[in-house]
């Protein structure tokens, strides 16, 4: 894993005097699904919010260390460029309420002032919606508001919105925690499919989900990276005692 697309090196982050992440070192290979799991409050969300530089938007946020995207430190790149290359999907589905489904998909282009011909837009919308298995359900109502969709459909629309920008990495912050099992299954299925075109970093507190969809798993506990390795190994023969205890449900 020396040649990861994303490398996190000696990374610390927190708010004010409170440190949340301590000395994280993580190398993420491209075109794989990497899940970050751990109990509530262990810093999973903080970690991925650092990866697309959303963490620093919070007042009193601080961080130390480097994160390299394709060997380039993201903290020396404009945050706007970083966020175009690293898409994000949030816990609760949040399509733009004033935009149609169509506009939601291309909203990254709209909001960044990137103009393109109608045909090109149509192509991106169809292609992306097919990628997230939403096309068949919404092809007749592309110009209706995105907020009329069901929760699961909205979340897939949000994934489409992030995918439409052709990011190198997509961050999913507990994308199924607000959804029912059926919608969750659909999202998990599409996660394993989209890794062909994008690297997926999935935050989850659901160990079964991590086991089902990811190639690699990182276990975070109290802001510390306890164990990181292939999902199969980590789940069958965990090296650290804490990982084993977490997986067997002794805490968390």
């Amino acid at each position: 894993m020396e040649n990861g697309i994303l490398k996190i090196l000696n990374f610390y982050a927190g708010y004010n005097v409170k440190t949340i992440l301590t000395n994280i070192n993580l190398s993420i290979p491209s075109n794989k699904v990497i899940s970050i799991m751990g109990p509530s409050g262990c810093g999973k969300t903080t970690l991925i919010r650092c990866i697309n530089r959303m963490h620093e938007l919070q007042p009193d946020a601080n961080f130390k260390g480097r994160i390299l995207l394709n060997e380039k430190n993201i903290f020396e790149t404009s945050p706007i460029l970083v966020r175009r290359k690293i898409g994000m999907v949030f816990q609760k589905p949040n399509p733009f309420p004033t935009m149609s489904i169509y506009d939601n998909v291309v909203s990254g282009y709209i909001l960044n002032g990137i103009k393109m011909p109608r045909i090109e837009k149509d192509r991106i919308v169809e292609e992306t919606l097919r990628k997230v298995y939403l096309w068949d359900e919404v092809m007749d109502s592309l110009h209706r508001k995105g907020t009329f969709l069901s929760g699961g459909q909205q979340q897939r629309l949000c994934i489409a919105r992030a995918m439409a920008m052709n990011p190198e990495i997509i961050l999913l912050d507990e994308p199924t925690s607000a959804l029912d099992p059926k919608a969750t299954a659909k999202i998990e299925e599409l996660i394993t499919k989209i890794k062909k075109s994008v690297t997926v970093i999935l935050v989850t507190h659901n160990t079964a989900q991590a086991a089902r969809v990811s190639d690699f798993t990182a276990f975070l506990y109290l802001g510390e990276l306890v164990e990181y390795g292939s999902t199969e190994k980590l789940f069958t023969t965990p090296k650290d005692k804490r990982t084993e205890e977490y997986l067997t449900g002794k805490f968390g």
Binding site: N52, M54, L57, P59, I80, L81, V82, R83, R84, G87, M88, F90, K92, N94, P95, F96, P97, T98, S107, G108, I110, L111, N112, G113, K145, T147, F148, C158, R161, A162, M165
Partner: protein
């Protein structure tokens, strides 16, 4: 058992009666205005100028146009400022300056309108040496400002922060996020706040007494005095001429109708552009 049901019914009847009593004054006022005002309403009432005392007929076209001019000036002065101010204090909730602005806005709302009239008289009418539509519009704008700031802030505060994050996470700049995502999402609340503030100031007389002053002739020049419906009602109802009294009633009817229409419009706007999150 029986007693409990009787008590329940009794209470229900009491609140229905009290609710009706509380709307009674409004109904009586509307009834009175319609009864006395409808008689003077005809086409010439809207297109003609007032007649000298003693002559019948005549209209209030100057006051209708004047009211319109004053509201436009007030809007130009207050809408952009109010929306931006409301946006600022909702964006920087915890800053000291936001606290201060919020406090000022609350005090602002409590200032008697006649005082605002006097202040605008000193600031604008005195330096320009004349009463003008401009000064009247600014006085009304000052009254609209706190209403717009407050309604904008309250609207934006209800917009989930996840929306802003979604936009920022797509690489949109802060400005774009505010202009293309957050403000459009709150458009119904902001627009209805503006309409409500217009209907609130449309009936104001006091701040216009020493600013717009009133004018019996048609005037399009914003540097000259204009008439407005409430001013005309005030002046005409104080006059000794019965013909003028009936014109004042007619003008009241027009003004009340205008305000009711604005309120209905506000309801429609907030329903039509309601944003579902």
């Amino acid at each position: 058992m029986q007693r409990r049901i009787i008590k329940d019914k009794l209470f229900e009847i009491i609140i229905i009666i009290l609710a009706m009593v509380s709307t009674l004054p409004l109904i009586l006022i509307l009834f009175q205005i319609v009864k006395k005002g409808i008689a003077s309403i005809n086409w010439s009432f809207f297109v003609n100028l007032p007649q000298p005392p003693g002559e019948t007929g005549g209209g209030v076209s100057n006051a209708i146009l004047g009211t319109f001019i004053l509201i436009v000036i007030a809007g130009v002065f207050s809408i952009l400022l109010g929306v931006l101010g409301g946006t600022f204090i909702s964006e920087y909730k915890d800053k000291k300056i936001s606290e201060l602005i919020r406090l000022c806005v609350n005090i602002f709302q409590g200032i008697p309108s006649i005082v605002i009239g006097i202040i605008v008289y000193i600031w604008i009418v005195m330096p320009l040496h004349r009463f003008s539509a401009l000064s009247g519009g600014i006085a009304l704008g000052i009254m609209m400002l706190p209403l717009i700031v407050k309604s904008t802030e309250e609207t934006l505060r209800l917009i989930p922060s996840s929306l802003k994050e979604a936009s920022l996470a797509l690489g949109a700049s802060y400005t774009t996020t505010m202009l293309r995502v957050i403000l459009p999402a709150g458009i119904n609340g902001i627009l209805s706040g503006i309409l409500i503030s217009v209907s609130r100031v449309a009936g104001e007389t006091a701040p216009l007494l020493f600013t717009a002053f009133g004018n019996p002739f048609m005037n399009f020049n914003i540097f000259k005095p204009v008439d407005s419906l409430p001013l005309l009602i005030f002046n005409y109802s104080m006059s000794p001429y019965p013909e003028w009294h009936s014109i004042a009633w007619g003008a009241s009817f027009v003004l009340i109708s205008f305000i009711i229409i604005l309120n209905i419009l506000t309801k429609m706007v907030s329903r039509k552009w309601k944003t579902v999150f």
